[in-house]
């Protein structure tokens, strides 16, 4: 019986965790290349979720297509925030100004969405949330299978892109040393744009998959993003492998805290871990093994 409960919570944790990984990877990518934080990332998640919702419920699109729509919306938001915030502020060389500006964008987007969509939660039903599989006492929906598979596929694609394509290598080169990469004929402006668009597309897409799991309100992204921040720090800022590991860890913490403690304690546990990490291992979970992994 307890084994079943544990197995069930592992399943729940992995489903949640893979969504958190998608959100957190976007933050980590931007940090790796730009050394900046996009606070509006959360609202890209939310707007992606709403885009998917309206694509399905107003236009009658399929759920899988709505994930693509959300991805597109995220990518467009990425273009916009790069043009409006990151590109003009990059030359001022301040570490904190872009962060503060994106806090402004986030506040603006969140409350604009509140005015447009209202505070009442939307019920995001997909045809896949009804179909339930039962395996050895545990159960999970087709929706969660889709979430995990799409997340794994996206992460694998991203990984392959970074490792094997020229663009991916150029991206890592810019992340390592922007000046030298520029001397090698790589246009950093173009690659920074690409990074922000990629990461925002990930956020939008994660929104479409999160919405059926969480409560869809204009603030849906905020609860996710604070965990995503915790994940990128626990995993080591800019470290992709660490982010994946930390994302799954936070998903598991969330499901086990809900089962054995109290759902109200989730954020306290996650951020307690974050603060402990910052004190004892500010470089993240797998910083030491990083060299082996390259």
């Amino acid at each position: 019986m307890t084994a079943t409960i544990v197995a069930q919570q592992i399943i729940n944790g992995v489903v949640l965790g893979s969504l958190y990984v998608l959100v957190a990877l976007g933050l980590t990518l931007i940090y790796g290349v730009l050394v900046q934080i996009n606070f509006a990332h959360a609202d890209f998640v939310t707007l992606g979720a709403f885009a998917a919702y309206f694509f399905m419920h107003l236009l009658g699109g399929s759920y899988l297509a709505s994930i693509a729509v959300a991805l597109l919306v995220g990518a467009l938001l990425g273009v916009a925030i790069n043009l409006a915030i990151f590109a003009p502020l990059r030359h001022k060389g301040s570490e904190l100004l872009p962060l503060i500006a994106t806090i402004g964008v986030s506040t603006m987007m969140q409350n604009a969405m509140l005015a447009v969509f209202g505070p009442v939660p939307y019920a995001f039903e997909t045809p896949y949330s009804q179909r339930v599989f039962r395996v050895a006492g545990t159960f999970f929906t087709e929706q969660s299978v889709i979430i995990v598979l799409v997340s794994i596929a996206t992460i694998a694609l991203l990984y392959a892109f970074m490792k094997f394509t020229f663009l991916g290598k150029a991206l890592r080169a810019v992340a390592q040393d922007r000046e030298t990469a520029g001397l090698m004929g790589i246009n950093p402006n173009y690659l920074i744009m690409l990074t922000i668009v990629l990461s925002s597309a990930l956020a939008g897409m994660a929104g479409a998959m999160l919405a059926p799991v969480l409560v869809l309100t204009p603030f849906a992204g905020t609860s996710v993003i604070v965990k995503a921040f915790a994940i990128v720090i626990i995993g080591g800022f800019g470290n992709v492998e660490g982010t994946i590991l930390a994302g799954l860890l936070v998903g598991l913490i969330e499901s086990f805290t809900t089962q054995y403690l109290d759902p109200g304690l989730i954020d306290i546990v996650v951020f307690g871990l974050l603060l402990l990490m910052l004190v004892f291992r500010p470089t993240g979970l797998i910083s030491e093994r990083r060299e082996e992994n390259v």
């Binding site: 940090y31 050394v35 900046q36 934080i37 409006a84 915030i85 003009p88 502020l89 001022k92 301040s94 570490e95 904190l96 100004l97 962060l99 503060i100 500006a101 806090i103 402004g104 964008v105 986030s106 506040t107 603006m108 987007m109 969140q110 409350n111 604009a112 509140l114 005015a115 905020t222 604070v226 921040f229 915790a230 720090i233 800022f237 109290d262 109200g264 304690l265 954020d267 306290i268 951020f271 307690g272 974050l274 603060l275 910052l278 004190v279 500010p282």
Partner: protein, 336 residues
């Protein structure tokens, strides 16, 4: 500018004294001019927000530490003082002192992270701290009554001065005078601090920590100090907020409140004390003046924050300087 008059320190300090007198006069007159309960409420909110903004600015603008946890200190001050009053029957001013001290202590604890981290890491650590405090207020139901909130918080007890009628703080005007007098006092104190060698030490840490340390400035000690003072001022704002509104719910101290306070500091002009005062007043009143927009109050905050960072990172203070220089330039040109 060539038109700069030689300004001696004596002249500057007498001008400063005049400015304080003028500010005190404005505070004294305002509630007499604005007689509706609605505007008097806004005035008191302005005074509370001024406290929050100058507290954050001391940490952010002077010590250079991006603290996104000001909402936590605000909430701790409010809850600690209120719980002492309502649960333990502690006298208001003792509870006030305890709330301020507790918030200051929490700031010093958070600064222990600032000692090890900087920039983005500190921003997220302080945000995490604010999330934890909010969640504790929400979930420690036996103490805080969680989302149900605490109701019927009494105003500060009346002060009896012999020979005069007692000052009742259930009176809106009296409470406004109390809060704004405290805000003016806090401003005076911080103003003295930042213009003293302590302020120079803080700015040195902000500008270049390593150089500051090589000059014998203990950067970590100053960060602890800045966080302690800034958080205590935020805690004082919380105590006043609780007694002014009479109701406490944890969501008043959600992390978005930190962003609102940040907007006040940035819009006003971080790294100056006078800027955040006007930033706080502007951002408190602006949404009220634009009442038609209703729900869009926070959209205005976000927009103001973004536009200021993009186009005028020095905030209102920078705008004022630009205007003044333009005016002075025109005067010089006209006098030729």
């Amino acid at each position: 500018m060539s038109d700069a008059v030689a300004v001696g320190p004596a002249y500057r300090s007498s001008r400063r004294r005049l400015a304080f007198l003028f500010a005190a006069l404005v505070i004294a007159v305002l509630p007499l001019l604005l007689t509706s309960g609605y505007w008097r409420t806004n005035l008191t909110l302005c005074a509370i927000n001024v406290l929050l903004a100058i507290g954050l600015d001391f940490i952010l603008g002077y010590a250079g530490q991006l603290n996104l946890g000001q909402s936590a200190f605000y909430g701790l001050g409010a809850y600690v003082s209120t719980l002492l009053i309502t649960k333990f029957g502690v006298h208001f001013w003792a509870a006030f002192a305890a709330g301020v001290a507790f918030a200051g202590l929490a700031g010093m604890i958070l600064s222990l992270f600032a000692v090890r981290l900087r920039g983005h890491y500190l921003a997220i650590a302080s945000l995490g701290f604010a999330v934890i405090v909010h969640q504790i207020l929400l979930n420690w139901i036996s103490l805080t009554q969680g989302p149900l909130g605490i109701y019927g918080i009494p105003p500060p007890p009346a002060i009896a001065i012999p020979g005069l009628p007692p000052i009742e703080f259930s009176n809106q005007v009296a409470l406004f005078y109390l809060v704004s007098a405290f805000a003016l006092l806090a401003y005076l104190l911080l103003d003295q601090l930042v213009r003293s060698p302590i302020g120079e030490a803080l700015t040195a840490v902000r500008e270049d920590e390593i150089s500051a340390q090589s000059l014998g400035i203990n950067a970590n000690a100053w960060k602890v100090f800045a966080f302690g003072v800034g958080a205590a001022v935020g805690g004082a704002a919380g105590c006043f907020y609780a007694t002014f509104v009479g109701t406490l719910v944890p969501d008043a101290f959600f992390i978005t409140e930190s962003f609102t306070i940040l907007a006040m500091v940035i819009v006003g002009g971080m790294g100056t004390l006078i800027g955040p005062v006007f930033g706080a007043i502007l951002l408190t009143l602006l949404p009220e003046l634009l009442r038609d927009i209703g729900d869009l109050r926070l959209v205005v905050y976000g927009l103001a924050l973004t536009l200021v960072v993009l186009f005028m990172p020095g905030g209102l203070v920078q705008g004022w300087e630009l205007l003044r220089r333009k005016f002075a330039g025109a005067r010089v040109a006209g006098g030729r």
